[in-house]
């Protein structure tokens, strides 16, 4: 069993209206030093796979296919297996 932790963010050239509104709100709340905020998504997916390589492939596969919008988003992920962390 593996746990994939998947971090999705907008591509750099895509507007992130949410981030801008949150930043403005933080500034109004007097957090003055904040220079940028972006909001993305974070998924935790538990999956069974025969080995790390297969798990990685599967995660990349379904993330591309479903979890992100390839036109506007990118992602990175980590894979955790029995307390071993594998960076992707």
């Amino acid at each position: 069993m593996y746990t994939a932790k998947i971090y999705v963010t907008y591509k750099p050239s895509i507007v992130d209206p949410q981030g801008e509104v949150i930043q403005a709100a933080l500034q109004r709340m007097n957090y003055q030093g904040i220079t940028s905020v972006t909001q993305g998504k974070y998924f935790e997916v538990n999956l069974a796979a025969p080995n790390v390589a297969a798990a990685k492939n599967e995660v990349a596969d379904f993330t591309d296919a479903l979890l992100i919008n390839q036109n506007t988003e990118t992602y990175r992920f980590e894979l955790v297996s029995n307390d071993d962390e594998v960076q992707s």
Binding site: P17, Q18, V21, I22, A25, R28, M29, Q39
Partner: protein, 224 residues
């Protein structure tokens, strides 16, 4: 009765609410979210819409708008504070009402008319209703009311649940559509009674909602 309708950047049912209140004999004023003093008003209304785009979580950013201190003050003073749709979401985020509104169980925005059951007919929001089942429009993507079971039990015991869905459209706990705080003066609901006050648009089932409030306020004034 002087009613304030608070407009946050991104509110879009402010004028609908204003018209409904005016048609039903309130003296409404649309008040900006920059306002810091609401002491002139007998009742405060937070309208539907997408305050601050509803980015982050619906209502999360609006609860920090300048006007919210005055809203909390009004609530503490025992004035009637009503949140409809996004207004309800803001009141929960602000902690003036228990619980939170999540995304609909089946994700996506729904615009429809649904049947509500009046759970508590003796409140400032329901006392003018003759029927216990009414049809009211809904229009929301995040109307799935959640509250932990301990709080829910208290709310049930205190009769804080005012409206329930006859046929739950969004996954809300205990079919909850509208609630009050413990004191009964702060109220929130996802459905839109202000869209149901005019025969020409096909539904008048929202009228008694506003009449109830007006009646309650007049009695309170009479008692003073």
């Amino acid at each position: 009765m002087k009613a304030a309708v608070i407009t946050f950047p991104g509110s879009n049912c402010d004028l609908d609410l204003f018209h409904a209140l005016a048609d039903l004999n309130f003296e409404p004023t649309v008040v900006s979210a920059q306002t810091t003093d609401l002491s002139n008003y007998d009742a405060i209304f937070l309208p539907g819409g997408f305050s601050y785009g509803d980015y982050l979580r619906s209502g999360a950013i609006a609860r920090f708008a300048p006007v919210m201190a005055a809203v909390s003050q009004a609530a503490a003073d025992g004035k009637i504070v009503v949140g409809i749709c996004n207004g309800f979401q803001i009141l929960t985020e602000a902690g003036l009402l228990p619980g939170q509104l999540f995304g609909n169980a089946q994700p996506g925005f729904i615009c429809d008319e649904v049947d509500l059951l009046i759970d508590n007919p003796e409140t400032a929001y329901t006392n003018a209703y003759n029927d216990s089942r009414i049809k009211i429009p809904i229009a929301h993507g995040e109307g799935n009311y959640y509250v932990d079971s301990a709080t829910l039990a208290q709310m049930e015991a205190n009769h804080q649940i005012i409206f329930r869905y006859a046929d739950n459209p969004n996954g809300s706990v205990a079919d909850i559509a509208g609630i009050t705080n413990l004191a009964g003066n702060v109220f929130g609901m996802m459905p839109h009674p202000e869209r149901a006050v005019d025969a020409i648009t096909g539904n008048t089932a929202g009228q008694p909602f506003f009449k109830s409030i007006l009646q309650t306020l007049s009695m309170a004034v009479g008692r003073k």
